[in-house]
């Protein structure tokens, strides 16, 4: 059916204009953007012929979000893909009185952010829908417990200034008691403060856990060093950081998330309204294990975990397992 839609669209002549904007250049967000475009290309939308993309980045400054959305409006885009919370808020502010759909991606909590009223029932959500990148925090904590039942105190380095990270840390604190864990927090408001925050947890925690916190991810070496100094495992909710030294990395592939956002775009191009499409929550987090890092702290992975892992890192290289 999607192919039929693509063919019929292709017959119309003028390419559909799609604006894709992101808050900052970042490997995960770049992959997200690529995923959206690849999903459309795979469905038969040829760039330049059927669709025309306008790519924009706020370069890390939320003040650029509104001008970018206004520029999209002036360019006459038929649909906006907004990657990250501030970009989505700005796009909705500019387009809310139009019928131009806004598809968000890489937004952790679209309801709390005020983007949509309800993530399951989209009927009141107007022009907005999209994909949430809310990670499975409870699943990650359970994984730590599976790694070693002796783990009780989990140290989290985070930046309370990042919407996604603040939310995930709160979720972790809520989920921890049920798993027999307690969360010890250390705040780093800039990347420069990550080493001190991580060091402050050495000796006070049995494991480190870092979520999708851009501030902490950019200084990930400091958390790795602190975990190894304390000889405790470090679980990182970002698979792309595995080679930097966490023992376990879980999470969603942002490229796949982009494909999911692209799929929503395809549904809209095929005639569905955003208020008929519920918010998508990505499932099936991948588990990646770093055997080199585990060896450095004398940790042996349980066989059950190795069986479930998507990727392994050892001998200085990443290996993808075929879990046929």
């Amino acid at each position: 059916m999607l192919l039929v839609a693509a063919v019929s669209v292709a017959g119309l002549g003028a390419p559909i204009r799609i604006g894709i904007c992101k808050i900052v250049e970042h490997p995960a967000l770049d992959a997200n953007e690529r995923g959206v475009i690849d999903a459309l290309t795979a469905a038969g939308y040829v760039e330049g012929k059927d669709v025309e993309y306008f790519l924009a980045s706020a370069q890390g400054d939320p003040n650029n979000a509104i001008p970018i959305a206004q520029d999209f409006q002036a360019k006459g885009v038929a649909l906006v893909v907004a990657i990250s919370t501030p970009m989505a808020l700005a796009a909705v502010e500019v387009f809310q009185k139009t019928d131009v759909p806004v598809v968000f991606s890489a937004v952790t909590d679209p309801v709390a952010a005020g983007l949509v009223l309800d993530d399951d029932d989209p009927s009141q959500n107007g022009i907005v829908t999209g994909v949430s990148d809310l990670i499975d925090v409870a699943g990650d904590l359970a994984l730590l417990k599976e790694l070693s039942s002796a783990i009780g105190r989990v140290g989290m380095v985070y930046n309370p200034g990042e919407a996604n990270s603040a939310r995930l840390t709160a979720i972790a604190e809520a989920a921890a008691p049920g798993l027999g864990l307690s969360i010890v927090k250390a705040v780093a408001d800039t990347s420069a403060n990550v080493p001190a925050a991580a060091q402050s947890l050495v000796g006070r925690v049995d494991a480190f856990y870092v979520t999708t916190d851009n501030t902490v991810v950019s200084a990930i070496d400091a958390v790795v060093a602190a975990a190894e100094e304390g000889s405790v495992p470090f679980l990182m909710a970002d698979p792309t950081s595995l080679r930097f030294g966490p023992v376990v990395a879980t999470g969603f592939d942002y490229y796949k998330q982009g494909l999911l956002a692209g799929d929503i775009v395809l549904q809209i191009l095929a005639g569905k309204k955003p208020n008929e499409i519920p918010v998508t929550y990505q499932t099936g987090a991948e588990i990646h294990l770093n055997l080199d890092a585990a060896a450095r702290i004398d940790l042996a992975f349980p066989a059950s975990l190795i069986d479930r892992a998507t990727g392994l890192f050892f001998g200085g290289f990443a290996w993808l397992k075929s879990n046929g």
Binding site: A56, D61, P62, N64, A74, P86, G161
Partner: protein, 299 residues
Amino acid sequence: MVSILVHAAEQGFAYGVAALGVFITFRVLRFPDLTVDGSFVTGAAIASSLLTSTGIDPFLALAVAFGAGCVAGAVTGLLHTRLGIADLLAGVLSMIMLYSINLRIMGRPSISLLRVTTLSDLVERALSPLGVAAILVVLGGLTLAVKFALDVFFRTEFGLALRATGDNEAMIVAQGVNTKTMKVFGLAFSNGLVALSGALVAQYSGFADVGMGVGTIVTGLAAVIIGGSLIRSRRIGWMTTSVLVGSLIYRVAVMFALRYGYLVGFQASDLKLVTSLLVIVALVVPTLRERLERKVGSC
């Protein structure tokens, strides 16, 4: 094209209020105040929190934001004048403290104003016959009102003493003016305006974000310098006008970078480069013109 210029002008005015605040510290007081990167967010945070939690009148939210900004600026002033902390460091300390305070005020890193009545909503409703220009008219009116109030203030005895504090501190001390009080007042007033601007921008944008203050000092200074290079005058009325002209040019530059950058091969990641290049052009053109005129004149 027209709509893009209207939007750029709206932003020029909204951010122009912050530029006027930066003008007071940098040009009038000659105090390099970095508090503004924090107080801009404080204004946005206070206004957004009040709008979402109490449904306060959007104009009242602006006034409260102004007051909060004044407090922030006064803290920097007191750190400098009473505790003897160097000017630059006093501002940096306030800015850092404000980061935490802003997060406390907001309760989370970004607040959406999509579902509350903001200034933009009021204006669109009240001035619907004006169409796309409605918000521009109100933002322009508010900002010009601030500008003219500043002009009047700087001609009063107190205002003149404030200007003299920056121009010739020894002279004004000899006149029996307490320059410490003057500095605290100037910093409070300046940051009040910056916070007011933050509250305006948040209501205009439909959201407040804890990261929106980063670079307030840079864009504020850009406006002051661009305007100052285009309109060279020592008269206060022209000086404040030049700041707003500078702010408008800066926002037009951002819009042009977004709108036409890709036509000449610039990518999304070149935005800041293009904006800065356009600002450089705005700075250099008047100087070049002047040189050219001199050459022609000498021939």
